[in-house]
Every structure is written in structure tokens, then in C-alpha cells.
């Protein structure tokens, strides 16, 4: 770690007002402290927001079918919330299937959605090439690197690093909105718009600007008792997804009335398979429809020799998740 000033903010307003170049917010620390030890993150000032206003941003509130969650709610608290488990299991699943109990106790959901890629060439500063870490330096992964874990969707010729999180797929599937307090005042953005594709600037991962503080997530229509998160990985727990799917489903008889599909482990950003959803809406949820939807979802995939399997695996994961969701009560 490089030296930094540490300060605690008492209020969100105070935190935002104290922002400036080199200043980062610190909450659970599970990403920030990890990457500071690797010298990948080099804040000169950390503003600790974990205790803002006596827990004012630590809440889970339902208003009819609308759900609003405070940004500083821990992953564990949201995962264990009885009502969320019942009414929107995809949110709960995507949390308890992530990381470990200790990390979920520490990490807040706003930090969780901002976690950085596990690409080894990004996380190790002794690699000269990483466009995400050092813009314009090249991409070691694309230049003969190990790429089994890399993305097949949303890639560019500058970066194929996978977005590693789980919860974001659930948020994107449920059309979540991010409430942000910024130095210019409050604003809201669609969660789907928060992360940006690597394109020619993989160092820029979100549209958040200096000083922006996420204060809450809101979901207007969160009542999806028939929803789940399926995570496929090499070991049973405490591992990143090779492929995952966040699904939410409403059926009218045998017809798909509404379907939501977020894909993880396969893309550079939290991924919403909107066209695949559209192909399923209004039809039956049978193998051929699912197969067609899977083809659509992965039509734009680009692969390396090592990660080509993720196209097949991603399709299978998505189909299995939807079939299992269809079997749920709701």
C-alpha cells in the first residue's frame, strides 16, 4: 500500500463534499484494501463511509412491489432478509452464492457491484501490459495469456477481462435504478447504464464521476417469487462463476408473460440478455425456444481457444436456470 490519509465521513453530504482527485470511498474494504495491497489501487485519501449517519444507508424497504435497498447494507444482511428471499429470491441467491460469509459480512452492496476484475494481468502490476490498469499498454491476456476465465461477451480488442460479480446480474435483470449523490446533487441512473463496455477505454469501468456516492438501489417491480441465480463454477462454494444466470419469470399458463435474464462470468460487464428475453416473451418455455434464446444471447460472442467453452457453457447455464426457475412456485 502507498500512504494515504484516512478520514471518516459522518454524513453522505460531508463525504461527497470532501471528494477530490485521489480520494476514494471506503466501506467494507474487501475490494479496495485487497487492490491497495497489490498496488493496483493507489488512493491518496480514503473516506470511510461505512458508518454514515448511524446506519441511515443500511436498510431494506418494501413499498408494495417496489424495493429500495440502502447502499451500505451488507451482502449478508440482504442475503438473509426473509422477505427478499421469499419475494425476490434471485437477489438473495446472487448474494449468498458469492464470496464467503466473512466477506459478505463486510462488503456493502454498493461496493460489491463495483468490484474489479480478477484478470491476473490486471491484478499483478509486474505485467507491463494491461489496458485497464495502464491505458495504452496492451493486453497480456490477448497477447498469448491465460484466458480460461475471460469474457466472451462485451469484449473489445483492448480488453477481455470478466466482470467477476454476481449480485449485479440480479440487479440488472430486475431493472434496478442506482441512486447517486454527487457533488452536483442527487441523480438516478439505470443500473444497466452504470457499467460501461471496455471498448477503447477499458480503464473506465463505470459512468460514475469523481465524488459520486451510491446511496441506494431501487427496483420498481421486485416481486419475482419465481426467480433464481444459478452459478456454475469449478468448486461448490467460494469461487468465481465460470458462467451464471440471474433469471426472473412470470408465466401465464404455459406462456411466458415476463422473463428477465442477466448473465455473469461470461461478459466484461453485468450483462442483460434483452434480445433473448424478447424471443421468449409470449411463447412457451420449451427446449427449442430456450435453445433459440441461448443462440441469440451468445450470437455476438468472441472467444479464445481457452475460453471458447464459455459459449456452450453459458448457453447451457442460461437454459438450465430458466428451466429450474419455471419449476419454482409462483
Amino acid at each position: 500500500m502507498r500512504p494515504f490519509y484516512y478520514e471518516r465521513a459522518e454524513t453522505a453530504v460531508g463525504a461527497v463534499a470532501s471528494s477530490g482527485p485521489g480520494t476514494h470511498y471506503l466501506a467494507g474494504g474487501t475490494t479496495m484494501v485487497d487492490l491497495m495491497k497489490l498496488d493496483v489501487q493507489r488512493p491518496t485519501r480514503l473516506v470511510d463511509i461505512s458508518g454514515l449517519e448511524g446506519g441511515r444507508y443500511d436498510f431494506i424497504r418494501w413499498d408494495g412491489d417496489a424495493l429500495r435497498i440502502g447502499a451500505l447494507t451488507t451482502m449478508a444482511k440482504l442475503a438473509d432478509d426473509e422477505q427478499v428471499r421469499r419475494r425476490a429470491p434471485v437477489l438473495s441467491d446472487a448474494l449468498w452464492l458469492a464470496a464467503s460469509p466473512q466477506i459478505r459480512n463486510m462488503a456493502r452492496i454498493s461496493g460489491n457491484v463495483l468490484q474489479r476484475t480478477r484478470c491476473p494481468y490486471f491484478r499483478d502490476t509486474s505485467y507491463a501490459q494491461c489496458n485497464k490498469r495502464v491505458p495504452g499498454s496492451g493486453c497480456a491476456a490477448l497477447d498469448g495469456g491465460v484466458t480460461r476465465h475471460h469474457a466472451v461477451l462485451g469484449t473489445s480488442d483492448q480488453c477481455i477481462a470478466t466482470y467477476p460479480g454476481d449480485f449485479a446480474q440480479a440487479l440488472i435483470a430486475l431493472d434496478a435504478v442506482v441512486e447517486i449523490l454527487s457533488p452536483d446533487g442527487p441523480r438516478s441512473v439505470r443500473f444497466a447504464d452504470m457499467h460501461v463496455l471496455p471498448g477503447g477505454k477499458p480503464d473506465r469501468e463505470t459512468m460514475l464521476k469523481e465524488g459520486d456516492l451510491i446511496v441506494a438501489f431501487s427496483i420498481e417491480d421486485a416481486a419475482f417469487p419465481r426467480s433464481k441465480y444459478l452459478k456454475v463454477r469449478d468448486r461448490e462454494s467460494y469461487a468465481y462463476a465460470l458462467a451464471s444466470a440471474a433469471t426472473a419469470l412470470r408465466m401465464e399458463g404455459d406462456t411466458v408473460a415476463d422473463v428477465r435474464l442477466g448473465l455473469g462470468g461470461v461478459a466484461t460487464v453485468p450483462w442483460r440478455a434483452k434480445e433473448a428475453e424478447a424471443s421468449l416473451r409470449g411463447g412457451p418455455l420449451d427446449e427449442s425456444a430456450l435453445e433459440r434464446a441461448a443462440q441469440i444471447a451468445f450470437a455476438g460472442a468472441t472467444t479464445t481457444e481457452e475460453n471458447a467453452f464459455k459459449v456452450d457453457l453459458g448457453k447451457r447455464t442460461m437454459v438450465r436456470a430458466l428451466l429450474e426457475t419455471a419449476r419454482m412456485e409462483g
Binding site: 500500500m1 502507498r2 500512504p3 494515504f4 490519509y5 484516512y6 478520514e7 471518516r8 465521513a9 459522518e10 454524513t11 453522505a12 453530504v13 460531508g14 463525504a15 461527497v16 463534499a17 470532501s18 477530490g20 485521489g22 480520494t23 467494507g28 474494504g29 474487501t30 484494501v33 485487497d34 491497495m36 495491497k37 493507489r42 491518496t44 485519501r45 480514503l46 470511510d48 461505512s50 458508518g51 429500495r68 438473509d80 464470496a99 464467503s100 460469509p101 466473512q102 466477506i103 459480512n105 463486510m106 435504478v177 441512486e179 449523490l181 457533488p183 452536483d184 446533487g185 442527487p186 441523480r187 438516478s188 441512473v189 439505470r190 446511496v215 431501487s218 461448490e236 462454494s237 467460494y238
Partner: protein, 204 residues
């Protein structure tokens, strides 16, 4: 998408302007810094910032002056000679450094010591005294839930929390909720047996 300002509890643009309420909003931690330069962060970054913290470790108040970079784990091990919490990876991947912070199992390697101020920290050394072992410690002995023992303090702290959190309802649930603690000797089935035994004694 409409900006729904009501949701922001009446923040106004004025209070957000720099130099507004900011000073009052910060805890006086900066004021206690010994080497913080007046100009804040320079282009080359600050020099080492040492701050005074008062920690509550195993029920004892410990007043220390620390580098802001110090993790809770390093302060326990290097400053307080509490070496029961182990450094197995230093990156939140193994669970050997698990302690309780306000009763929640927490990775001390990813917690800045400064963040622990105002909390109650309990380490393996504070779980019991030797004459009166915690039921989880006794269960680990009786079920041979370790071999080399290096992950054991973390396993025990995690096991206690697994029960108090209500995640020890079945074998499958214990396995899942003990998966944040790696055991390279692979005593896992014995760890599950120990958690089950302690659960009975702890009334979980």
C-alpha cells in the same frame, strides 16, 4: 428515467458545495494525524500518515499510534502480540485471520485497523480462558477438527459465528457457511462434526 429527488432526503445543492458542511461532517480523525500535510494530497501522494486509535480488543482498551495502512491483522500480530489470528493469504481468500467485530465474523486482513475504532473486536485469545474453553474449542479438540492447526483459530471464530448467525441448521448449511475458511489438511468433516456438537451446547 426521472430523477426522484425526494428519495435523497432533501439534500440540497448548497450543502453539497465544497467547503460547506464538509468540515463539520468529518470525524476529527484528520485533526489527530501527526504528519498530515496542510495541503492534503499532493500530486505525488502523501507521506505516511500516523494516527492515534483506541481499539477495544478482547474487552481491553488499547491506545495506539498507527500507520493508516495498518490492517487490523497486522496490528494484532505486530503491535499487540496477539498472534492467534493468522496471515494465510493477506487477501481475504483463506479465512485464517477471522475475528469477530461487533459479533460479526470479519476478515482482519482486509480491515484497516483505523476502521476498527469504535467496535468491539474479539480474537481467538479472547474467546475463552484456558481453564474454561468455549464449547467450540472443546468440540474442535474432541472431534480432532484440525491437524496442523494453522487455520484453526479462524475456523473456530467462524464456527461460533456460523451458529450465532443461524447458519448451522443442517450439515449442508454448515458446510456452505464454513466454506470461507480453507483447511489445507482437509479436516472438513471433523469441523462439521465439531460445529454440530458446539451448536447443541451453545443452544443454537
Amino acid at each position: 428515467m426521472s430523477d426522484d429527488h425526494d428519495r435523497f432526503d432533501n439534500f440540497s445543492r448548497r450543502t453539497l458545495m465544497k467547503g460547506g458542511a464538509a468540515g463539520a461532517a468529518m470525524l476529527p480523525m484528520g485533526a489527530r494525524a501527526q504528519s498530515m500535510s496542510a495541503g492534503g494530497a499532493s500530486a505525488t501522494g502523501p507521506s505516511v500518515q500516523r494516527i492515534e486509535v483506541s481499539l477495544d480488543i478482547n474487552g481491553q482498551r488499547r491506545d495506539l499510534t498507527i500507520d493508516t495502512r495498518s490492517t487490523l491483522l497486522d496490528v494484532l500480530r505486530h503491535e499487540l502480540e496477539l498472534t492467534g489470528s493468522k496471515k494465510g493469504c493477506d487477501h481475504g481468500q483463506c479465512g485464517a485471520c477471522t475475528v469477530h467485530v461487533d459479533g460479526q465474523r470479519t476478515l482482519s486482513c482486509l480491515t484497516l485497523a483505523a476502521q476498527a475504532e469504535g467496535t468491539k473486536v474479539v480474537t481467538i485469545e479472547g474467546l475463552s480462558d484456558e481453564d474454561n474453553l468455549h464449547p467450540m474449542q472443546r468440540a474442535f479438540v474432541e472431534n480432532d477438527a484440525f491437524q496442523c492447526g494453522y487455520c484453526t483459530p479462524g475456523q473456530i471464530m467462524s464456527g461460533v459465528a456460523c451458529i450465532t448467525e443461524g447458519h448451522a441448521g443442517s450439515d449442508a448449511e454448515i458446510r456452505e457457511y464454513m466454506s470461507g475458511n480453507l483447511c489445507r489438511c482437509a479436516a472438513y468433516p471433523n469441523i462439521v462434526a465439531a460445529v454440530k456438537q458446539a451448536r447443541t451446547e451453545m443452544g443454537g
